[in-house]
Amino acid sequence: MAARPTFPAGLALDAHKQQACGTPIVELPLPPQVVLALDQGTGYSAEPVVTVGEAVAAGTLVAHAGHPYASAVHASLAGIVVAIETREAAVPSGRSVCIVIDGNASNRIDDSVRPVADLAALSPDELVQRLRDAGIAGLGGAGFPTATKLAYARNLGAHTLVLNGAECEPWICCDDALMRSAADDVVLGALILRRAASAERCVIAIEDDKPAAIAAVTSAIERLRDEALTLAVVPAVYPQGAERQLITAVVGVEVPAGGLPADAGVVCQNVATAAAVAHWATRGEPMLSRVVTVTGSGVEHPGNVRAPIGAPLAALIAASGGYRDTPLRLIAGGSMTGRALPSDEVGLTKSMNCIFVATRDDIGSRLEAVEVPCIRCGDCAGVCPAGLLPQQLLRAAHADAHDTLRQLGLSDCIDCGLCDYVCPSQILLADRFRDARRRLQEAAAMAQKAADARERHGLRKRRQQEAATAEQQTFESVRDRARRPDDDSAGDSN
């Protein structure tokens, strides 16, 4: 199949996938303890519905998704809740309330875990609700609740479901492994998601450097014979797997700035999410585990591991043969956008697709980098998939010039890190932009608050004025009424 045209810019990177991709997916033995972060990576936390000391079974709901950006959390291990407390966690803020469960050997499974018998009878709305209850969240890296995304897609009338199997980021290959071993699950999940989103068609997009996955998915599609389902092979160019860029490559439309993919008639889900949906449909299991790549020169046997959500990362690394050499960074994600974690005690989250244990061999280029002033060479602008001018943004960020930053489209930066990658001055551009974006968001929130206060103050002043006028009128009418019977006092009004 010929590769199709893609989004502008981007860069073909050294993939580093062979390390972890040679071996089949390994099942992690049940760990003695799991640490379930209630923020699963979106910045919004679920609310605990269990108390310390309570016994839970595998699949028991332990935290309820109050906010649409939070996802429900289920016990991934049968045992006793031993703590509910704020801990270090593998989430952007660095900390989250966590539910800690000590396992007992019962392996009891919650009664609610039953195959979904009436799947075909469920309406799309019911499907979305059931997926929300099952705590299904995007497994591609953002951890955004699938149900919320589907609800947006339904509200805005999305016509196409794009299933993201691009996996463009170096080092990560969990989706590749999953597609090769469980292509039927992916395809089944795709059909369920398409129905839940009420989309007309579904396209599974895979980068052309994964021929085995392409073959597996192709034959799974053939077995299913559903005309709404097609495969798109996209070139292996980073960041092909970024939602907006993939949509442009596959569907040929751009997602409007500041809008959602659904505004362009598209909803995007990860292939692993689709497989998890299939898991839920066939076994009734909420999201209890995921496949994660454990890789880097710092682990003995790189590979893909299926592990319960909340499993301590140390356990995953131990299952991969433990550390070797001198591990310098523990990175959740790949080399381009992964977040370096302070500790391997944190639990696996739904959004964590890769554990990259990096040694000097892997990240030496960054460790040895010496930052020099920007020479405006424009290489960063040449690769920016969002069409931005990082060199100009850097100046504006340095000067903290909010208007300029907005004009230059800081909010459209997708944080792919390519500008850093190519910069000959070796400036930490992506990090500066993250920082500037945070400041910009804070300023916007302050401005919103000020605007609200201005409006309320205005309303209050008007109300006071009206009250004063009314009082004046009342006073005058009372006075007039008091005056009418007594004509002699007419002259007093002067």
């Binding site: 002033p373 100046r395 504006a396 340095h398 000067a399 010039a401």
Partner: protein, 193 residues
């Protein structure tokens, strides 16, 4: 036609009022910190220069010369320019009070902008006709505006540059203006051959 074109080219580029003749330097340095203000200043100066050229020509040709009052020209021109500038100020205040704030003292100072009086006097010295006066005034204004806008955009970039402390602000602005004048020397002799 060619004559007028050469006149315009000369007044705007080759003998640029700011960068070759060093006329009108105070707003050039003073109103070049913000681009919006510079655009306003460029337009105001263009307006004043063109109007003052036409009116001063009329006064000269039809009042001062017939009455033999040529010696009054400096006084009368300044009076005239002051009037035009005041009018420009009223217009600016009505259309954009923010611009009025930004231009501040430099708006009334157009009155004593040597570029404006310079154009009026040069028109008389070179015995320009009405059309020539207007073209000369307008292109001098355009040249002033061009230099001002280029300079302002440069200074905005210098604002975020890592300039040595001793050169920050006015010193580096003056060095930049000097290098601009150097670059404009490239136009020297243009049209002379």
């Amino acid at each position: 036609m060619t004559e007028l074109l050469l006149l315009a080219l000369g007044a705007s580029l080759v003998n640029n009022f700011v960068l070759s003749n060093f006329l009108g330097l105070c707003p050039f340095i003073g109103v070049s910190r913000r681009f919006e203000a510079a655009v306003g200043m460029a337009l105001a100066t263009l307006f004043v220069l063109t109007l003052a050229s036409g009116l001063s020509f009329a006064l000269w040709q039809w009042v001062l010369v017939p009455l033999g009052l040529e010696y009054l020209r400096t006084l009368v021109f300044i009076l005239l320019i002051a009037g035009v500038v005041q009018f420009a100020e009223i217009m600016v205040r009505a259309t954009s009070p923010l611009l009025h704030q930004l231009l501040g003292i430099f708006l009334p100072l157009i009155t004593t902008n040597c570029a404006v009086l310079g154009v009026a006097l040069l028109n008389v010295d070179r015995q320009h006709g009405l059309l020539e006066s207007l073209v000369f005034g307008a292109s001098a204004g355009a040249g002033f505006g061009l230099a001002l806008l280029l300079f302002t955009a440069l200074r905005e970039r210098l604002d975020t540059a890592d300039v040595p402390r001793a050169f920050r602000g006015a010193p580096v602005a003056l060095v930049t203006a000097g290098l601009m004048a150097l670059a404009f020397m490239g136009f020297a002799g243009l049209g002379a051959r």
